[in-house]
Point group: C2
């Protein structure tokens, strides 16, 4: 098995660049960090090019039959290419799916979708995808401005739910119009004079729910397009809810 | 105004130790990091001993009349004593409340309480306190094993909600028994054969809700004491919900 120990190695430099969108695009790859994600990817038949693994992880005698190529890496290399402080020591180089010419084709619109409008925090994004999975949603649409699906911290926070749902990157205006053209209502989540209490809504079997930016909320353009804006009644003195908490309450509240 | 620039300064070493429970106990102080928290503490009439502030923050000409003492610190000192990567450059040294001889005296039991059983992640804890505030809960009880209330990352994640609710550190068994003695049901949140779907419960105006450890759930002892265990139905293929998301869904679902 090939061994790579040096941070100066040209491959290591390339792997490090997979933390950026540009690097992923140039190499056509993205990084899955840790056994849980790697195993979920194998189960989901994600195309994996190479498994990177430390000596310590090799010593646990894992099943390596699913991987077309293996490279042993040092702990130092593992720390360098990981977005986490204490990586497990196993990474898959997965093949980046080609951008679809029409991201809105072949979507399951029979169940609800979560739309992320300019959401920035990888932890929030990952948690919302995981919650959408648990709530039985069909998919999550990453709008322009929202952090990239294949950013390593986002991949990690999704904890495998990225392989259970349809995830698309798209212009949300187009997607909202598509949903509405098919008779599915789209709900915003910004408090304004016209907002309705979320428990007063009888949501149909399929709909869209838009969550906005952590600080600034939804974009005005998208807000104007929604069928209704929903609010969660705040009883105490907290100024707001964390966006992932609000998404969780709305998803489980609307889709029972 | 006194100026402190060196990481070797004896005060700086002491402030750094406020990140540990031992340090806070020895000095009788805890640290509030950033204007939002400091201002919320002032509003809540928290006893503040000293404000630490960088030259950059002083240049914004903030209102400093609320603080009995001021010390100017360098950016380097600010980074050293903060638990965040990019601190704002303002910290309050707040007086640690004396541990109550009876933490269960004088509690508002007319509204619900959230009980944290061995919860470990400061971000989860802070988010749950903030959500409990928004949901109109009376307070949050930090059980033995749960991260300390005054840990800087917990303080920060609570975003001011620590000043809106009653927060206590206590043995949760005692607290559960107190709630039950007063006729308030206590709900667990562990999936088991006897668990009830949370939407099937008609919760009264006051109750206790216990959230357990991120990996291991509630302690067996506490679980045995609860009046009912609740579960959130998972429709998709996610294995579980993040503990703070589950807490948000349960708090808003039970206390409408």
């Amino acid at each position: 098995m090939e061994k790579i120990n040096s941070l100066q190695n040209v491959h290591v430099k390339a792997w490090k660049k997979l933390q950026t969108k540009k690097g992923r695009k140039q190499q056509g790859l993205y990084l899955l960090d840790g056994w849980h994600l790697v195993n979920e990817a194998v189960k989901a038949k994600v195309s994996i090019k190479t498994l990177l693994i430390t000596e310590k992880q090799l010593a646990t005698e894992p099943d390596l039959t699913h991987f077309p190529a293996l490279i042993e890496i040092s702990e130092e290399v593992a720390s360098h290419i990981s977005a986490t402080v204490t990586p497990q020591g196993v990474f898959a180089l997965a093949v980046l799916p080609k951008p679809k010419t029409d991201p809105l084709a072949n979507l399951d619109l029979s169940r609800p979708w979560l739309l992320l409008d300019n959401v920035q925090d990888p932890g929030n994004i990952g948690t919302m995808v995981r919650t959408a999975d648990a709530a039985g949603f069909a998919g999550v649409a990453f709008g322009t401005g929202t952090v990239d699906i294949h950013q390593p911290k986002v991949e990690r926070a999704m904890q495998g739910s990225q392989f259970h749902l349809q995830l698309i990157s798209t212009d949300l205006t187009d997607f909202v119009k598509l949903l509405q053209a098919q008779g599915k209502p789209v709900y915003g989540s910004e408090l304004n004079d016209q907002a309705a209490q979320y428990l007063d809504i009888e949501a149909p079997a399929s709909f869209g729910l838009v969550m906005g930016n952590e600080g600034n909320g939804m974009s005005a353009e998208l807000l104007a397009l929604t069928d209704k804006n929903l609010y969660i009644p705040i009883k105490g003195r907290a100024e707001s809810l964390n966006v992932a908490i609000a998404a969780g309450i709305l998803m489980f509240g609307l889709y029972r």
